[in-house]
C-alpha cells in the first residue's frame, strides 16, 4: 500500500452527509416517544410566584406538565460545573428547571410532555407563570458594582478572581522603566455559536434491564454520561450516551444541558421515551454563548519597541450560572497574552462576573481568540507609538527558533515554533508592499474608499491536556484519551476512539493513520466512536485535542498491535522477533527479503489460534490510554486587506491570506477545511456577529435575521499555505488545527480596519465593526478635530444603533 498520510484524501464521512443519509437526533424514529416542550422565562430576572399547568394538562394529547418545584425531587444534585477555578469561587446552585428564581430570558420554568411535538408546544403556551419581576443586570461593569445582585444569597456578582503573576516586581519594574506603554481596553462581544444543527435529545428507557439510552447532539458523550448519572441519580452503568451525527458544535455542545437531564428524568418518571428538539430561537437563548469580556491590556516596551512586560486584566461574563466549564474559559487564554513574543514579565488577572443573561461557556478557540485579539491589537498600537510598520514590530519581538522549547513568562513550555517564515510567506502572498503603496496612493489622491492591511501572528495551545496541568488548574478530570485497535478475522481493522467527531473528519484521519501503520487500505479501517457502550473510555472532542491526544492514543495502540503481531510472525517464520523488519504491513526476515509474512495473515493466525507461541493470547487487539506530557503550540500569521467606504462605513474584505503551522499534516484537505471555516467564524466576530441584549436583559438578536452569521457571499476566497514544524510532544509530531482560523482572524480583520481608518486618527472600533459604528467614529473624529485629524480619539463608545431595542419602529421579524 502506498502511504496515505499527507495526501488530500476525500472525507469518508461526506457521501453520507451530502446525500442526507446521516441521521441526526431529530431524525431518529423512536416509536412511542413523548415530546417535551419547555416554558421559558420571558424575564431576565424574576421570582417565580406560582406556576399553573392545569390549562395545559387539559389539552388533548398532553401527558404531563410540571413546574420546577414539582421536579425538584428528581435531581440528586445541582447542574454540574467541572472547573472550580479557585478555592473560593462562588457557584450558585441551579437545577435543570428553575425552582424559585429565573435568572435569564430562556431559563426553563415549566415543562409540558405530550404525544406530539405540536400538542406539547401548543399546550406550553397555556402554562401560566406568575412572575415577580426583579431588576436585570446586563452590563459587565455594572454587574461588578453589585448594584443589582443576580443571586441575592451570594451577596455579590463576583464569582472568582484568578491570577497568574509569576513575578509581580518584574512587571512593575518593566512598566516603570518603559519607553513606551500601551494601555488599551477591548470589548469581546458575546457570540451565539449557531451550530447548523440545533440541539436535540431523546432518552429511551430499555424494555428490559433498566438501562436508559440518551441520544443527544453532544460533543461529550463520555463526560455527559458521568455527570448526568450524578445529577439525575442513576447508576452510570445504567446510562448509555450516544451522539449520532452531530451537525456542528463549536464548543456549544460541550456541556451538560438542562434538556438532557430533563429528558432523562421525565423518561424515568413516565417510563416512556421522551424527546426534545430545540428550535432556532431557543438555540439563541438556551444554548451557551461565547466570549463576553472586557479586556484591559497593557504593554511595556523599550525605545525600539521590544516588549518587556504584559499586563492583562479581564472581566469575564459568566452569564446567570456556571455551566460545565464556564469559569475556566478565560483561563484557556490566560497563558497566551504574550503570544508569539519573547516577553520577560507577565501578569494576568481575570474576574468572573454574573449577569442576568444566558450562561457563557466554550466557543471555538475558548479564551485563545480573546487573548490573541488583545495582544495583536495592542502590538499594532505599539507599532503606531514606536513609528514602525506592524510587521517590523512583530519581527523585533518574535521568540527565535533557537529558543525552543521555550519557557514562556506565563509558565508554559512552547514545544516548537518558527514564527518568522510564516510571517514572511504571508506577506509575500498578500503582496504586502504593493498594498502599502496602493494605500498611500489612494490617501494622497483623497479617495473615499480607504485600504487597510491587518496582521495577526498567533500561537495557541492545543491538545487538552496534560492531566497534571489540569489538576494544577483545578479542573476535576484528566486530559488523556483512549483508543482500541483490533484486527477482524477478514483482515479488516476496527478502531475505537474516545474522541467524538462532529464535523472534523476523524473517521477519515484516523483511518489514514492506521492504514499507513498497518499497510491496509483506509477503506478497510472502520472507526467507531460517540457511543459509551462501544467506546467506554474517552474525554471527547474540544480544544483541538482530538488528533494530538486521541490520534496519539490510536497510534500507540496500533504500535502495540504491531508488536504483538511481530511475536506471532516470528513464531510462524521460525526466527527470533529481533530478526524481523516491519514496514508497510509486512514482516520480513532480516537479510532474507523473500521470507515475509503480511500482518493480515498474522491477524488470521491470531484469530484461529491454531499455532501461536506458547503463552500468547489469541487475537490482535490492543488499547492505549495516552496522557500528553505537554500541550502542543500551533502558530501562524494571517493577513487581511480591507476597503472601508468612508461615506457609508461599510467594510469589504478584499483579500485574506493565512499561513498556519499545525505540525505534521495527516490530511491537508481537512486542514484547509478547518482553516477556512475558522477564518470566517473569526472574521464574523470582527464584522457581523453580536448577541445584543436590551437593558431589560432581552436578547434582541434571537433569530438568524438579526444575528448575522455570514455566508459564502460575504467573504472572499481565501489564500492559505502552511509551514511544517513538527511537535516533539507526540510521536507523529501533530499539533491541531480546529481553532487556528478563529483565533487568528478577528484581530487580522480589525487591525486592517483600524489601519484603513488611521487617517482619521481612529484607534479603536468595537466589534463587530458595523457600518453604523464606523460611520459614527469617522463623524466624531472629523467633527472633533476639524482639520487636524490626528487627535487619536478612540471611538469605542460608538456603540451600535441607539438603544439596541431591536424591533424598533417598524416591528420585529419580517
Amino acid at each position: 500500500m502506498t502511504a496515505v498520510v499527507g495526501t488530500r484524501m476525500l472525507r469518508k464521512e461526506d457521501p453520507e452527509l451530502l446525500t442526507g443519509e446521516a441521521r441526526y437526533v431529530d431524525d431518529l424514529v423512536i416509536p412511542g416517544a413523548l415530546h417535551l416542550a419547555i416554558v421559558r422565562s420571558t424575564y431576565a430576572h424574576a421570582t417565580i410566584k406560582s406556576v399553573d399547568v392545569s390549562a395545559a394538562l387539559a389539552q388533548p394529547g398532553v401527558v404531563a406538565a410540571f413546574s420546577g418545584a414539582d421536579l425538584r425531587p428528581e435531581w440528586a444534585g445541582p447542574m454540574p460545573c467541572a472547573w472550580p477555578v479557585t478555592e473560593d469561587m462562588l457557584n450558585p446552585e441551579h437545577f435543570p428547571i428553575a425552582v424559585h428564581t429565573a435568572c435569564y430570558v430562556g431559563d426553563a420554568v415549566a415543562v409540558v410532555v405530550a404525544e406530539t411535538d405540536v400538542a406539547a408546544r401548543d399546550a406550553a403556551e397555556l402554562v401560566e407563570v406568575d412572575f415577580d419581576v426583579l431588576p436585570a443586570v446586563v452590563d459587565l461593569e455594572d454587574a461588578l458594582s453589585d448594584r443589582v445582585l443576580v443571586h441575592e444569597a451570594l451577596g455579590t456578582n463576583r464569582s472568582y478572581t484568578w491570577e497568574l503573576i509569576p513575578d509581580a516586581d518584574a512587571v512593575e519594574e518593566a512598566f516603570a522603566n518603559a519607553s513606551h506603554t500601551v494601555v488599551e481596553r477591548y470589548v469581546q462581544q458575546r457570540l451565539i455559536p449557531s451550530a447548523m444543527e440545533t440541539r436535540g435529545v431523546v432518552a429511551v428507557p430499555a424494555v428490559y434491564g433498566g438501562e436508559i439510552t440518551l441520544y443527544t447532539s453532544t460533543q461529550i458523550p463520555h463526560i455527559l454520561r458521568v455527570l448526568a448519572a450524578l445529577t439525575v441519580g442513576v447508576s452510570e452503568s445504567k446510562l448509555r450516551v450516544v451522539a449520532p451525527s452531530v451537525g456542528g458544535g463549536f464548543g456549544s455542545k460541550l456541556d451538560v444541558y438542562a434538556e438532557e437531564l430533563l429528558c432523562l428524568a421525565l423518561a424515568r418518571r413516565l417510563r416512556r421515551p421522551v424527546r426534545w428538539s430545540e428550535d432556532r430561537m431557543e438555540n439563541t437563548q438556551a444554548t451557551i454563548q461565547g466570549r463576553g469580556m472586557i479586556q484591559h491590556m497593557e504593554l511595556a516596551a523599550d525605545a525600539d519597541g521590544r516588549v518587556t512586560a504584559v499586563r492583562a486584566r479581564l472581566l469575564a461574563d459568566m452569564g446567570a450560572y456556571l455551566q460545565l466549564v464556564t469559569p475556566g474559559i478565560p483561563l484557556l487564554g490566560a497563558f497566551l497574552y504574550g503570544g508569539v513574543y519573547d516577553i520577560p514579565a507577565y501578569s494576568f488577572v481575570c474576574t468572573g462576573v454574573f449577569t442576568t443573561k444566558t450562561p457563557t461557556d466554550a466557543y471555538r478557540g475558548a479564551g485563545r481568540p480573546e487573548a490573541t485579539y488583545a495582544l495583536e491589537r495592542a502590538m499594532d498600537a505599539l507599532a503606531r507609538q514606536v513609528g514602525v510598520d506592524p510587521a517590523e514590530i512583530r519581527r523585533r519581538n518574535f521568540i527565535h527558533p533557537d529558543q525552543f522549547p521555550y519557557s514562556s513568562s506565563g509558565g508554559l513550555i512552547f514545544d516548537s515554533g518558527n514564527y518568522e517564515p510564516a510571517l514572511a510567506r504571508a506577506m509575500e502572498m498578500a503582496g504586502y508592499d504593493q498594498v502599502r503603496s496602493d494605500q498611500a496612493a489612494r490617501r494622497s489622491a483623497g479617495a473615499t474608499k480607504h485600504l487597510g492591511i491587518g496582521l495577526s501572528s498567533y500561537v495557541e495551545m492545543c491538545g487538552l491536556a496534560p492531566s497534571r496541568v489540569l489538576s494544577a488548574l483545578r479542573y476535576v478530570a484528566g486530559g488523556w484519551e483512549s483508543s482500541t485497535v483490533r484486527f477482524l478475522p477478514t483482515g479488516k481493522v476496527q478502531v475505537v476512539t474516545g474522541t467524538t467527531p462532529h464535523g472534523q473528519g476523524h473517521e477519515t484521519s484516523w483511518s489514514m493513520i492506521v492504514a499507513d501503520q498497518l499497510g491496509v487500505s483506509p477503506d478497510d479501517v472502520e472507526v467507531l466512536h460517540s457511543d459509551t457502550s462501544i467506546a467506554p473510555h474517552g474525554m471527547d472532542t474540544y480544544g483541538s485535542r482530538s488528533l494530538s491526544v486521541g490520534g496519539t492514543a490510536l497510534w500507540l495502540a496500533t504500535e502495540k498491535v504491531i508488536d504483538k503481531a511481530k511475536l506471532i510472525a516470528a513464531h510462524q517464520l521460525e526466527v527470533a522477533a529481533e530478526d524481523l523488519d516491519y514496514a508497510g504491513g509486512t514482516f520480513t526476515v532480516k537479510g532474507s527479503p523473500d521470507r515475509t509474512m503480511a500482518i493480515g495473515a498474522v491477524a488470521f493466525e491470531a484469530f484461529t489460534a491454531h499455532n501461536l507461541p506458547d503463552g500468547l493470547e489469541p487475537n490482535l487487539e490492543a488499547s492505549s490510554h495516552w496522557d500528553p506530557p505537554n500541550f502542543t503550540f500551533p502558530f501562524g500569521t494571517h493577513i487581511c486587506v480591507v476597503e472601508v467606504d468612508e461615506e457609508t462605513g461599510k467594510v469589504d474584505v478584499l483579500k485574506y491570506v493565512a499561513v498556519d503551522d499545525c505540525g505534521t499534516q495527516i490530511n491537508p484537505l481537512i486542514i484547509e477545511g478547518q482553516v477556512h471555516g475558522g477564518i470566517v467564524q473569526g472574521a464574523a466576530q470582527a464584522l457581523f456577529e453580536e448577541a445584543i441584549y436590551d437593558e431589560d436583559g432581552n436578547l434582541v438578536t434571537s433569530s438568524l435575521a438579526d444575528y448575522l452569521v455570514p455566508s459564502a457571499a460575504d467573504f472572499p476566497s481565501m489564500q492559505t499555505d502552511t509551514t511544517v514544524t513538527p511537535s516533539p510532544t507526540n510521536p507523529m509530531g501533530v499539533k491541531g488545527v480546529g481553532e487556528a482560523g478563529t483565533i487568528a482572524a478577528a484581530p487580522a480583520v480589525m487591525n486592517a480596519i483600524i489601519d484603513a481608518l488611521s487617517p482619521f486618527g481612529i484607534t479603536d472600533i468595537d466589534m463587530p465593526a458595523t457600518p453604523q459604528r464606523i460611520w459614527t467614529a469617522i463623524k466624531q473624529s472629523t467633527d472633533a478635530s476639524g482639520a487636524s485629524g490626528a487627535s487619536g480619539a478612540g471611538a469605542s463608545g460608538a456603540s451600535g444603533a441607539n438603544g439596541a431595542s431591536g424591533a424598533g419602529a417598524n416591528g420585529g421579524p419580517r
Partner: protein, 281 residues
C-alpha cells in the same frame, strides 16, 4: 417555530380566492410564496385561521408587453422577474432589484404580488414600482380596479387592498432608455436593505411615459416612500449632489440594531446621490 393551527384551502382561480376571502373575512390570509407570511406565522406573530393558497394560479404568473406598459402577473416569482428578457430590455431596473431580493431560494418562492401586498417598507420591489410610477390591478367581489403605486401603501404593512381583494397584476411603464439605478445597502449579501434607493431619470418630456425623475426609498419610513423633495429639486434643476441632500426631508426613518435614524438619513443622502449619478441626466 411551528405555526398555530390553521385551515388550508387551495384556490383554483382568483375568483375562488375572492369567494373564499369573502366567506372567511378577516381571519383568512392569502398564501403566495409564503416567504413573508410563513415566518410571521412560525413566530406566531400572525395567526390566520384560514390560509387560502393561491401559489399555483399559473394564469397569474406572466410578464407581457401591453402598449406603453409591461404587465406582470402577481404570482410571478422574483426569479422569473430577475431573468426576464422582456424586462431586461424594457424596464431593467425591475430585474436588477429582483435579483437582489434575499437569496436564490427566496427568489424562487417569493412573488412580486406578495412583496407588494405585504407592504413592508424594507422590501425592495415596492420602492421600485413607486419610482417607476407603476400601478396595481386588484380584483374583488365587485370587480377590478387599478390603484396607482403612490396610493397603494397606506401604513406600516398596510395597503389599499380590501380584505376581500386579490392583487392580480402589477403594471409598470417602459423605461424607453431612461437612466436608472438601484442601490441597496446591507451588511450581508442576502439581507434586507438597511436603506435602499430606486431611481429613474427620464429626459424631459421624452416618450409616451413622460419626463422627470422618480426616486423612491426602502426602509426610510413606515411605508415604502417616494423621495418627493429630491424629485422636486431635480425638476428645479438641482445637481445630483444638491438634490440628494434632500433625500431624507420630512422622513422619520426607523431605528433598529443596524442603524439609527440619523445614520439612515445620512445613508439615504449618499445612496440617492450615487443612484442619481448612476442614472445619469
Amino acid at each position: 417555530m411551528i405555526p398555530a393551527s390553521f385551515d388550508y384551502r387551495r384556490a383554483a382561480s382568483a375568483d375562488e380566492a375572492i369567494a373564499l376571502l369573502t366567506e372567511n373575512g378577516d381571519d383568512a390570509k392569502l398564501l403566495a410564496g409564503g416567504h413573508s407570511l410563513l415566518p410571521l406565522m412560525k413566530l406566531r406573530l400572525a395567526r390566520p385561521s384560514v390560509l387560502i393558497d393561491i401559489s399555483r394560479l399559473a394564469d397569474l404568473s406572466y410578464i407581457r408587453a401591453d402598449g406603453d406598459q409591461i404587465a406582470i402577473g402577481a404570482l410571478t416569482r422574483h426569479h422569473d422577474v430577475e431573468v426576464s428578457e422582456l424586462l431586461a430590455r424594457e424596464v431593467p431596473l425591475l430585474p436588477a432589484a429582483a435579483g437582489q431580493v434575499g437569496d436564490p431560494q427566496i427568489r424562487h418562492r417569493g412573488t412580486i404580488g406578495g412583496s407588494l401586498a405585504h407592504g413592508d417598507p424594507a422590501s425592495d420591489l415596492p420602492a421600485v414600482v413607486l419610482a417607476l410610477g407603476g400601478s396595481m390591478v386588484v380584483r374583488g367581489p365587485g370587480g377590478e380596479r387599478s390603484i396607482p403605486a403612490t396610493e397603494f401603501f397606506a401604513g406600516f404593512m398596510e395597503t389599499a387592498l380590501a380584505a376581500d381583494e386579490v392583487l392580480t397584476e402589477i403594471r409598470v411603464p417602459r423605461l424607453e432608455g431612461a437612466g436608472w439605478s438601484f442601490q441597496k445597502f446591507n451588511r450581508r449579501a442576502h439581507d434586507w436593505a438597511i436603506v435602499g434607493v430606486a431611481a429613474v431619470r427620464r429626459g424631459a418630456g421624452s416618450g409616451a411615459n413622460g419626463g422627470g425623475a422618480g426616486v423612491a426609498l426602502v426602509n426610510m419610513a413606515s411605508t415604502p416612500v417616494r423621495a418627493t423633495a429630491v424629485e422636486e429639486a431635480l425638476a428645479g434643476g438641482a445637481s445630483a449632489t444638491e438634490a440628494a441632500a434632500h433625500a431624507a426631508d420630512g422622513l422619520d426613518p426607523p431605528s433598529d440594531i443596524n442603524a439609527t435614524p440619523e445614520f439612515r438619513r445620512h445613508l439615504a443622502q449618499v445612496l440617492v446621490r450615487r443612484a442619481l449619478e448612476e442614472a445619469g441626466a
